[in-house]
Structures are given as structure tokens and as C-alpha cells.
Symmetry: C2
Subunit: 295 residues, 2 copies
Amino acid sequence: MGITEEPTRPETRIRYADAPNRRITADNTIDYAYRDLGVSEVPLVLLQHFRGNLDNWDPALVDALATDRRVVAFDNVGVAATNGTTPNTVEAMAHGAIAFIESMGLERVDLLGFSLGSFAAQEIALIRPDLLRRIVLASSAPQGAAGMHGWAPDVIGAVGAPDTTPEGYLSVFFAPTDTSREAGGQAAGRIFGARTTDRDEPTTWQTRQAQYDAVCAWGIPHHSLLQRVAAIELPVFVANGDRDPMILPRYSNLLAGLLPDARLKIYPDSAHGFLFQHHNEFAADVHAFLEETIR
Amino acid sequence: MGITEEPTRPETRIRYADAPNRRITADNTIDYAYRDLGVSEVPLVLLQHFRGNLDNWDPALVDALATDRRVVAFDNVGVAATNGTTPNTVEAMAHGAIAFIESMGLERVDLLGFSLGSFAAQEIALIRPDLLRRIVLASSAPQGAAGMHGWAPDVIGAVGAPDTTPEGYLSVFFAPTDTSREAGGQAAGRIFGARTTDRDEPTTWQTRQAQYDAVCAWGIPHHSLLQRVAAIELPVFVANGDRDPMILPRYSNLLAGLLPDARLKIYPDSAHGFLFQHHNEFAADVHAFLEETIR
């Protein structure tokens, strides 16, 4: 027996692109699809963006995160290979995520919520704070903030159509600069090319409609609701790209100002997919935040 | 006649430490003390912090700002060499500043409000938006934000006593690091040593009490009042030090998130006096912001 007693798990050294698809049935009778890699006492659970499935995480980001910790990605209720019907409220999505985390036997986790997943992360922090240790909110906004209702027409036009296109994806996730679009091409190559077998199932139109309903409801302007996140006392890392057209970086400023204990970083020359573009820097920042022991 | 036709003014090339004390009487019958240097079409008017007079601006900062533009510093109503009684509301301070700006014949100005002066700058933007072009808010917070009422006991203890001390000043304006305290010593040397004759009059206990009343009223928690700054449609540059104990940087995040058109920068290893510590960087950032022609 060595000095350290790390649990031995088969996924410890594998890449996200090679991580097996796993399934687990929760108390809500939903059969969740997930992938699980890396090792740490407190795992980092990922909450995915609008219409995204397990394959829409940039493998380079997940691998960078999993260098230091256990990372668990999953499809929430009704999304891709997870059965059930995608709920049309962020609150119900939060309950779906809590049920998955409980089914895994995880008593305390860190969360990384991205876009719609960051809305769910806020709700989890409000509904079940004891389940969480620290929270990362990427491309996020507080419920009720003025000016974000339904996203800009060109944004929902680009990523909300029945058939999504690489051009639409790049226009929202990457900034209109040579450097960002080049990074976008590389990220898209990894997302759509690194895993060639056992890819996740595509998300459905039902998922798209239910998730967009939830996004629109979240964005109904209601100044009083901004106070809700003042109840999140956990440490939070708020991050976005400086040119995100989908969820403007001003909402990250706002969120970090409303949260009692938040750090904020706005990444340059990047948009909604800043965490894919700057995957090494972002993973290092997430690591530093999650390992912080003093304030 | 040369290619440019800049107005010739005697203060064009002088340093702030040598700028003459001037006086002007406004329509409100107040006789304001001010200093005026540099040249530009739109002047930058400075709004001073709690208990500060004309000499409490770091000369190195004013000189860096005045390289590119006309800079006007003044004592507001009842403060130091300006007569009258210091008002006890931010709104009345804003009206006092508007009366001064009008008396100078200035039709449109940029504002740099620092701390209490940044509260007045927000009020001016709400009361008289047409008077302003662009606004810089240094070490600021929106009215009604939770958690800032009356400042922390050690902060008001350090700068609110009848007799202020260099130690108290340094503890609030500079961070508890070797680099920041070293910068603080240099700034204090410039503030208290660069100008040896014709210094401004000290501020009184009446000013201290009235200004602190205004600060406390501004900090009464009232979530609904956060909406007020949404009416400021002008471009705003929000800035603070990352370790400001007087007005926490989270309030700069909040302000930048609430304002429709704000840029935000948090300066490292610095506190309330970040703009003195990082005077060259801050002046360059202010210049870039004020000269911005595209968004």
C-alpha cells in the first residue's frame, strides 16, 4: 500500500474522447447518460449549454480539468441519451441534476455550469446548498436581469434553427476576429472530430423548445428577482468572454456584484465559447479557484 | 497661424502642484475654489473623495490626465476654500457641482468621480445628463447596494476621526502589501509635499459630518434603488482596486452590470487609492476611454 490511497477507477488516465458512455438510474426513475474521468475527493459536475449533449463539451477543456480532479458530465432529463422529457423550467432542470448527483452517491460536489447550465447551477445552489462546495458560472446571468429576454434575434436565429450549422455555432461561440475564429475552428474540430465512436445521441426539437422556454422565462425582466442570488453564500467564480453576443459580459459583472462571495474574470477576444477557446487558461483558473483555501 | 488652433491659456503647460488657485462665483452665490490646467475641447471635471480638498488629488495623476486634456478640480459647496455649508445629501452635492460647471461656461464635460465624488457623478448623470459626455467612476457603488452602509468600522475609524493620520490614510487607500504601501508612501509624499505654497484650506468637521451623513444615506440597503443607474445611458468607465476596504470591488462589478454601457477594470494589488498608485496606467485607461469613438 502506497502513501496515497486514491480510489482506483478505470477512467483515471483516459481522455474525454475515449471515456465510455455510462448509465445510472436515479430515484426519479430517469436513466441518465454520463461520462466520468479523473480523480479527486470532490468531483466537478458539468452542466451543459442550450441543446448540448455530452459531445458538446470541448474534449480539450474536459481533459485539462480532469488533470487535477474527477470530472462528471451528464445529459440532464430528456436530453440526448438520457430518457424522459426535457423540462421547461430552470428549476425543474436543477431538480433533474440533483437527482442525478444523488444517484451517483456524491455527497458534495463542485459545479461548472455553462450558459443554460449556469442557470441550473444557480438554482441548485439555492435549492440544495449543502450539496455544493464551490461553483463556476460560465457565460451566465442572474434571473430577471433586464435586456436579455429571449436572446438577440441573430443569436437565437444562429443556434435555434431546426438544423444547426457550423457557421451559426461559430458566430455565437467565437468572436468575429481572426484569432477567435481560428480557435473556433480548432474547437469545433475537437468537438465534432475527436470522438469517432460511441458518440452521444443528438438532442431533439422537444429539448430545444423546452430549453428555450426556460431561457425566455429566466430572462423576463424582474428587478426584484436579482436579489435571489444574494442567498448563495458559497464561493463562486464568474467568467465570460468579452464579446459574448448570447449572454453579454455585463451580466457576469452584475452576477458577480450581486453574489456575496464571487470572483470575476472576463477573457479577452472571445465570445460564448470562451472556455473552449481559452481552455488551458480557464482550466488553470478553475483549478486555482477550486483549490483556494484562503480568501 | 499654425495648423491647429488650440486656445492659448496660461495653465497649458504647468504642473498641478503649480496651478494657481482660482475662484468663481456661481448663480447660487457660492464662491468656488478651483484649479484648471491642460487643453481639450471637452474638459474633465474631477469630483473629490470624503473630506478631500484640491490638494488631496495626487499631482502625478492630475498631471498624467492633463497631458491629453483640460482638467478642472474644484472644492464643492462648503468644502475647504469654497464657502457655504457642505450639504448632507449626494443629490445636493450634485446640484452644487452642476452650479460650478455652469458658472465656468462649460456646456459639456467629462466627469471623473472618486468615491463620494463618484456618487455625486452618478447623480449628475441622472439629474443633468445633457451636461455630460462620458463618466469615470472610481471606487464607486450604486445607491442602495446591500452591505456597504456606513463603511466598515475600521475604515471609518481610520479616516473619520477628528484628526486624520498618515497611517489611517494609508490603511484605506493602499493595500497591505509591500508594493502597495511603498506606492502609498510615494503618493502621500506627492500629495502632502509637492505643493509647498498656496495650499488649499483644510476641510472642516462640518464637512466631515455632512459628507458622512450622505455616505450613510447612500448605503441604506434598498434593492429597488439599484435600478436607478439603468437610466444612465452615457458610456461609463468603472474602476477600483482589487482590495479596496472602503468600497468593495464587488460594488464596481454590480455598478458595471447595472449600467447599460459600462466598461470595468479592477486594478491589482491596490485599494481605495488605486488611481494614485497606478496613476500612469489609470490615466492611460481614462484617456483611451474618453477618446473611444467606436464601441
